[in-house]
C-alpha cells in the first residue's frame, strides 16, 4: 500500500470505499493514478464478521445520529434510524444482499416516458441505456453476476420454491433466482455460496461480491492506494479559482487532518455525500459546494419497499439459503393502467428471528402479533423494490439542532410520499398477497416501509446545469475537479437495486477521469 504525503497535491482523494468509491479506487490505481481513500469505518474481514445478528448490526451499521421528518413510515417505526447503511471498509457492499438487476432502458428516460407528473421533479438521465450497456456488462463480469455472461443461476431455495409456485399460479412468467453477485461456483478467487442465509452480516465465504475483498485489495496491490480507515471527511476545501484543493478529515484519534488533492470524488452514500457538500459551504459557495442549482440534497429517492410475509401449513425454513435469490420481473414495466407510473420488482427475502419482529413486521405486541411468529418455521417472504418518484422537497439538509461527535450538524432526512408511491406500494402488496394466497397461505402480513437501504439522487446528474449537480460523468457542473461517485449521482432511481448501476457508473467515471488526467484537463 502506498503512503501518500498529506501535502501531495497530485493525488485523487476518494471519500467512501463502498460500491462507488471502492470500484473507482481500483480503476484509478490500476491506471497508475495515486489515490487516497478515506473511509469513516473500520476494516473487517471474513474472519471478523460476527454471526450474531445483533452484534453484526453494530459492527457494520452507520449508527451516528440522523434525524428525519415527513409522512413516510420510518418517522414512526424507526425514528432514530431513517436509513440502514454501513460504516465499514467496503461500505454497503459488505451488508448488501447481492441483487444486481439493471435499470431498464425506459427508466433512463423516465421524464419522457411518464410525461409531466404533478409534484415530481423527474428529468431524463443525461446517459442512455445504450451508453450504459457496455459498462453494465463489464460490471457484471467484475462482480460475477449469476445468469449473465454464461454464469449459472443460484439454485432454488425453499423460500424461492414458494415464491415461484405462487408467481406461476397468478400468471407471472419472468420468475427465477435472480441476477446475483453471489458465486454459484468458485470464481474470481472467491468461494461459492454455501447457502448460509447470513448475507447481511457479512458473507463469511466471500461468495458475495464486496469491494472489501475484491476491488480494495487489488487497488492496494498496485502500490498506488493509501487507504485510511476511521477517517471521517468533514470539509472539502477550494481555492480562489473555485477548484477543490483538498479534504479536511478527522483521523481515528479525532484529530483534524488535511489531505491535498488534484481531484476529489465523493462516494459517501446519498445521505453523507450531500451532507459533506453542504458542510463545505464557504464565502464563495454559500449554499455548499456544487450547489448553484440548489439541487444538492434534493430529489432524495429510496425505493418503494416493504416485506410481504406468508405462513403455510407446511414448513419452509426460509432462513436457509441466499437471502435475496429470487426475482419476479413481470411488474417491472411502465403500465399506467395499473394506476401509477414506473415499475417494481418482487425479490425473495428472509429475516433472522430477532430482526423479523423488530423491523420486519408492523409495530405490535400481544397475542395476535406473537401468534404470527409462532409460525416462523412455516413462513415465506417477499420484498417489494419499486421506483419512487423524485420530489424536490424530499431532501437531505443539515440539522440545526443535532450535532455529531465532531460537533458538526447531522443529516436530516425529509420524505413525504408521492401519491404515485402509495399507489405502487398498494398494487405490489395486493399482488404479493395474491401470489401467496393462490397457493394456500394461512395468513399474510404486510410490513410498513423499512429504513431505506437504497439511497439515491441527492446530487443528481443532469444534462442542463440548472437541473442537477453533475454532468453525465458525475463531474459537478460547478467545479470541474469535484466528482460524485455513488448513488447520489443517479438522475432517477429506477426499480433496480442500485449497486450494479453504481459500479457501472464508477467504471465509466474512471475512464473519463483517467483520460482527463492524462490530457492534463484535470
Amino acid at each position: 500500500m502506498a503512503r501518500i504525503e498529506q501535502t501531495d497535491d497530485g493525488a485523487v482523494v476518494i471519500i467512501g470505499s463502498g460500491a462507488g468509491g471502492g470500484t473507482l479506487a481500483h480503476e484509478l490505481t490500476r491506471r497508475g493514478i495515486k489515490v487516497v481513500l478515506l473511509e469513516a469505518g473500520q476494516r473487517q474481514s471474513l474472519a471478523s464478521f460476527s454471526q450474531n445478528p445483533g452484534e453484526a448490526f453494530g459492527q457494520l451499521t452507520w449508527l451516528d445520529p440522523r434525524t428525519q421528518s415527513g409522512t413516510w413510515d420510518p418517522v414512526k417505526t424507526s425514528p432514530t434510524l431513517p436509513v440502514w447503511i454501513a460504516k465499514t471498509v467496503g461500505g454497503t457492499t459488505v451488508h448488501w444482499t447481492g441483487a444486481t438487476p439493471r435499470i431498464r432502458p425506459w427508466e433512463f428516460r423516465s421524464r419522457s416516458t411518464y410525461g409531466e407528473v404533478q409534484g415530481a421533479s423527474l428529468i431524463d438521465w443525461p446517459i442512455s441505456y445504450d451508453e450504459m450497456k457496455g459498462y453494465y456488462q463489464l460490471a457484471e463480469r467484475r462482480m460475477v453476476v449469476s445468469r449473465r455472461n454464461g454464469n449459472p443461476g443460484l439454485p432454488a431455495s425453499n423460500n424461492f420454491k414458494v415464491m415461484y409456485a405462487g408467481a406461476q399460479k397468478i400468471g407471472y412468467k419472468q420468475v427465477h433466482t435472480g441476477y446475483m453477485a453471489i458465486n454459484t461456483r468458485p470464481a474470481d478467487g472467491r468461494a461459492f455460496c454455501i447457502q448460509q442465509g447470513f448475507c447481511v452480516q457479512g458473507c463469511k465465504t466471500g461468495a458475495k461480491w464486496s469491494t472489501l475483498y475484491t476491488e480494495i485489495p487489488r487497488a492496494e496491490a498496485t502500490g498506488n492506494l493509501d487507504l485510511r480507515t476511521r477517517c471521517m471527511a468533514t470539509r472539502i476545501e477550494h481555492g480562489a479559482d473555485g477548484k477543490v484543493t483538498g479534504v479536511l478529515y478527522r483521523d481515528s484519534a479525532g484529530h483534524e487532518q488535511r489531505q491535498r488533492a488534484r481531484v476529489v470524488c465523493v462516494a459517501g452514500n446519498a445521505i453523507e455525500t450531500p451532507r459533506l457538500l453542504l458542510l463545505s459551504e464557504s464565502a464563495k459557495f454559500p449554499y455548499g459546494l456544487a450547489n448553484s442549482s440548489g439541487h444538492v440534497g434534493r430529489n432524495y429517492c429510496h425505493h418503494i419497499n416493504g416485506f410481504i410475509w406468508a405462513t403455510f401449513d407446511e414448513p419452509v425454513h426460509f432462513w436457509r439459503g441466499a437471502v435475496l435469490a429470487g426475482l419476479v420481473e413481470d411488474e417491472t414495466v411502465n403500465e399506467p393502467k395499473r394506476g401509477f407510473f414506473g415499475g417494481y420488482h418482487f425479490e425473495l427475502i428472509a429475516l433472522d428471528l430477532p430482526t423479523l419482529p423488530l423491523v420486519g413486521m408492523p409495530y405490535g405486541w400481544g397475542r395476535d402479533f406473537a401468534s404470527f411468529i409462532d409460525d416462523y418455521r412455516n413462513m415465506a417472504g417477499l420484498f417489494i423494490n419499486g421506483e419512487d418518484l423524485p420530489q424536490a422537497s424530499n431532501r437531505i439538509t443539515l440539522d440545526d439542532k443535532v450535532k455529531d461527535a465532531n460537533g458538526l450538524p447531522v443529516a436530516h432526512v425529509h420524505v413525504d410520499e408521492h401519491p404515485n408511491d402509495k399507489a405502487m406500494r398498494q398494487h405490489a402488496r395486493m399482488q404479493g398477497k395474491k401470489m401467496y394466497e393462490a397457493i394456500g397461505a394461512k395468513r399474510v402480513v404486510l410490513s410498513p416501509t423499512t429504513p431505506a437501504t437504497h439511497n439515491m439522487c441527492t446530487a443528481r446528474m443532469s444534462a442542463r446545469p440548472e437541473d442537477g449537480v453533475a454532468n453525465a460523468h458525475g463531474q459537478t457542473h460547478d467545479i470541474p475537479n469535484l466528482f460524485i461517485s455513488d448513488g447520489s449521482a443517479f438522475t432517477s432511481p429506477g426499480s433496480a437495486n442500485p449497486t450494479l448501476t453504481i459500479v457501472a457508473l464508477a467504471l465509466r467515471q474512471a475512464d473519463f477521469i483517467g483520460k482527463q488526467m492524462a490530457a492534463r484537463a484535470l
Binding site: 454471526q51 450474531n52 445478528p53 445483533g54 449469476s146 449459472p152 443461476g153 443460484l154 439454485p155 432454488a156 431455495s157 425453499n158 424461492f160 420454491k161 414458494v162 415461484y164 409456485a165 420468475v175 427465477h176 433466482t177 454459484t184 461456483r185 461459492f192 455460496c193 454455501i194 447457502q195 448460509q196 442465509g197 447470513f198 452480516q201 463469511k204 465465504t205 407446511e314 414448513p315 419452509v316 425454513h317 432462513w319 436457509r320 439459503g321 433472522d352 428471528l353 430477532p354 423479523l356 419482529p357 423488530l358 405486541w365 400481544g366 397475542r367 402479533f369 406473537a370 411468529i373 409462532d374 416462523y376 418455521r377 397457493i439
Partner: protein, 180 residues
C-alpha cells in the same frame, strides 16, 4: 443486617428471579440442575417478577418457558446497573403496574399495558423483550430457527432446498447445486 455480595465482585444483590426448566428444555441438557436463578443487581425480586409478566404479555408464547423471558429481565437488570435513568424508569414502570399485575388474568394485564403503551417505559420494554427474547437459544429451539450456519458448512447440504410440498423449480429458473 448483612448485604450479600455477588460472587463476581462487589455488585450488591438486590433480588433474585428463580424458576425450574421444563423437562424437555434445551437448556436442561447443559445445566447442572433444572432449577435456575438470576441474581439481580438493580431490581428487586418483586419488580423482576412484574417485568417478567409484562414481557410474557408483550410476546405471549404459552409453551415457551419462563427461563427464556428471564433472559430479558437479566439484560434489563444489568443495563439498569449502569444507567441510573433506566433503573428509575424500570422501577417506576413496575410500581405503576402494581402488585396485582403478576397474578392478573391476561386480559387485565393487556389492559394495564395498553394504558402505558405511549410511555418510554413500555416502548423500551417492548423493544428489549423482542430483541433479547428472540435471540435466546431457548427461543431459537422453540421456533425452530437454526441461526448461523457458517460453522456447520451452511445449509447447502443441510436442507436449504428440502421443501417437497410444492413442485420443483425447472432448471432454467434455478441453478446447479454444487457437489450434488
Amino acid at each position: 443486617m448483612t448485604i450479600p455480595i455477588d460472587r463476581r465482585g462487589f455488585l450488591h444483590k438486590t433480588g433474585i428471579l428463580t424458576g425450574v426448566l421444563a423437562a424437555g428444555s434445551p437448556l436442561a441438557l447443559l445445566a447442572p440442575s433444572r432449577a435456575w436463578a438470576v441474581d439481580l443487581t438493580s431490581l428487586t425480586s418483586a419488580e423482576a417478577a412484574t417485568l417478567l409478566a409484562a414481557a410474557r404479555t408483550i410476546a405471549p408464547h404459552d409453551k415457551l418457558e419462563d427461563a427464556a423471558y428471564a433472559f430479558v429481565i437479566r439484560s434489563l437488570d444489568s443495563a439498569a446497573a449502569k444507567d441510573e435513568a433506566l433503573r428509575k424508569q424500570l422501577k417506576e414502570g413496575a410500581a405503576n403496574l402494581g402488585a396485582g399485575f403478576v397474578a392478573a388474568p391476561e386480559n387485565e394485564r393487556v389492559a394495564a399495558l395498553r394504558k402505558v403503551e405511549a410511555t418510554p417505559f413500555f416502548q423500551n420494554l417492548r423493544v428489549q423483550t423482542l430483541q433479547v427474547l428472540y435471540s435466546t437459544p431457548l427461543a431459537y429451539a422453540y421456533f425452530g430457527y437454526e441461526g448461523e450456519a457458517f460453522s456447520k458448512g451452511g445449509y447447502l447440504q443441510r436442507g436449504f432446498n428440502d421443501l417437497r410440498w410444492l413442485p420443483e423449480v425447472p432448471p432454467a429458473d434455478s441453478g446447479p447445486v454444487l457437489g450434488v
